[in-house]
Amino acid sequence: MKQQELGEITESPLTFRQYFTNIWDAIITTYKGMKITLKYVYGVKPVTVQYPEEREELPLNSRSRLFNDVENCIACMQCATACPVDCIYISAVKRDKDAPKVKTSSGSPVRLDLTMYTIDEALCCYCGLCTTVCPTECLTHTRDYEFSQYVLDGMKYDYLSPEIRAWRTRLIKK
């Protein structure tokens, strides 16, 4: 069988002088590097944030868990259309003519009653496109980033349910 021929690794023979300059270079460069490293050991104070004990507050712009203030929602479906991953599920019925007239905080009349406003936050890609198209600014990204769940269905937030309404006060942007 023909053996695979590989190029031989050729190294030029070391001269006496090169041998010692190599050693000298190694010592000098390692010394210079160690000087910098030692400066970091003693001269620089640690920057690590010890997470569960101390937390950094995220900047105001941060995009984290979504929150919909359903009282201000007019069910215009713009967020669901803008969403690139289709994780917003909305259904609404027409409001009765006899029912008392409701207005959002910005003054636009509510003509549709929400029957479902659910966001699958496990699918959400946190791009922020839904919040920017919202005409009444009721859908916002909060700065609340600690919302891990034990089951995947726990990430489906039904914003009409009272327990999710309860964290309305939690870290909502000004």
Binding site: G33, I36, V47, P59, S62, P84, Y126
Partner: protein
């Protein structure tokens, strides 16, 4: 008498096939390199791709033009700003939108900051590949500042969705401009320090110099771009040679590999080109911070974007090389076709050409110096 089954004529040597990856710390993601080895020497290296394929191009055919931007972020997640910028510029060129000057300035600032962040990550992980751990932590401190600035600007740390069709999403404040300015000064100093720590080290030099040499001819044959091509001694930068955006107004140099420690086009040259590029980016950012003008940040864009019928190929200099988007429109709300030309893909395809004859440890150094991101290769 029993016959010997190990006759001398029957003895033979054969090449051993080893799979490096898909879960291997040195392959930077889910790249699998099938190596045929003769003891310690690589005889053949074949990269296998497709472990991170997410159908990005097909997906974007079903989304409107604005909703594609978050998907382009996820191509090269380490240089997401540059990815967005190229796509957005392609759409803007089709729409013939005028972009406000302030937005142009902000775009250059963020894309150069992103280039620095990406190269810093290369610096750290390359040092880890070659056995030095502490430089990784030092450069991550610097990178953390950039990510924090991006978080304040755009709201996210990695996948920004910041550059929009017509401008940028959020304005930059005077305070942030000042902070970026001071950061640039300290980074300029620190980078020199890090270079003495890593790049001038004798161990690092003997691991990288004369290793993984990519000739000018090989680089041209395979269509290499970016730091790989410049490391091979070719002066080619799209920011200078095919200028776009604000770059014609700015003055900066293009670092080219010179073979300072070994031959032209070795791993050390590619490392050095990236470090020098960071210095040049700092220069660009400083010019932009000085020249930024007050004004609007969003141009006039229709609410529902309908791109006129036609096609365009837009390319820019990304952190890893030339990134191109071939956008075909049929006049509707969605792109008809969006083809991404990724630089990492061409760089990975060079591996079979340069790998034979080198040691396995040198292959790790070579893959590290090519600096690939699998998200961009597989898309």
């Amino acid at each position: 008498m029993q016959e010997k089954h190990y006759k001398e004529e029957k003895l033979k040597t054969e090449l051993l096939t080893v799979s490096m990856g898909p879960q291997h710390p040195a392959t930077h993601g889910v790249l699998r390199v099938e190596i045929k080895t003769d003891s310690e020497i690589v005889a053949e290296a074949t990269p296998h791709l497709g472990y991170l394929h997410r159908c990005m191009e097909k997906h974007s055919e079903n989304l409107d033009y604005r909703a594609v931007i978050p998907f382009t972020d996820r191509l090269d997640y380490l240089a997401a700003m540059n990815m967005e910028l190229t796509y957005v510029m392609a759409v803007e060129k089709m729409l013939k939108t005028e972009i406000p000057v302030r937005a142009e300035y902000i775009r250059v600032i963020v894309s150069e900051l992103q280039r620095i962040a990406s190269h810093l990550l290369f610096f750290g992980t390359y040092a880890i590949d070659l056995g030095a751990f502490s430089p990784f932590l030092y450069v991550f401190q610097e990178r953390e500042f950039i990510l924090r600035i991006f978080e304040e600007l755009s709201g996210a740390r990695l996948l920004y969705n910041y550059i929009w069709i017509g401008g940028v999403w959020n304005d930059i404040t005077d305070d942030q401009i000042k902070r970026i300015g001071t950061f640039c000064d300290t980074l300029d100093e620190n980078l020199k320090k890090y270079h003495t720590l890593v790049g001038e080290n004798k161990i690092f030099i003997s691991r990288t110099a004369d290793v993984g040499i990519i000739n000018k001819d090989v680089a041209f044959d395979y269509g290499a771009t970016g730091p790989i091509l410049r490391g091979s001694g070719v002066n080619w930068d799209l920011r200078k040679n095919r200028p776009y955006g604000l770059y014609p107004k700015l003055s900066f140099n293009i670092p080219v590999g010179t073979g300072e420690k070994g031959k032209v086009g070795d791993c050390w040259d590619r490392y050095r080109v990236r470090v020098l590029e960071m210095h040049e980016s700092i220069k660009i950012i400083k010019q932009c911070l000085a020249g930024i003008e007050a004004g609007p940040i969003m141009g006039k864009v229709p609410k529902i974007i309908k791109v006129p019928k036609g096609e365009i190929y837009m390319r820019t200099e990304c952190a890893r090389g030339e990134l191109g988007y071939h956008l075909v429109s049929d006049g509707g709300k969605k792109p008809y076709r969006l083809k991404v030309k990724s630089s990492c893909f061409t760089h990975v395809s060079m591996l079979p050409a340069i790998a034979p004859g080198m040691m396995i440890a040198d292959l790790v150094a070579t893959i590290g110096s090519i600096d690939i991101v699998l998200g961009e290769i597989d898309r």
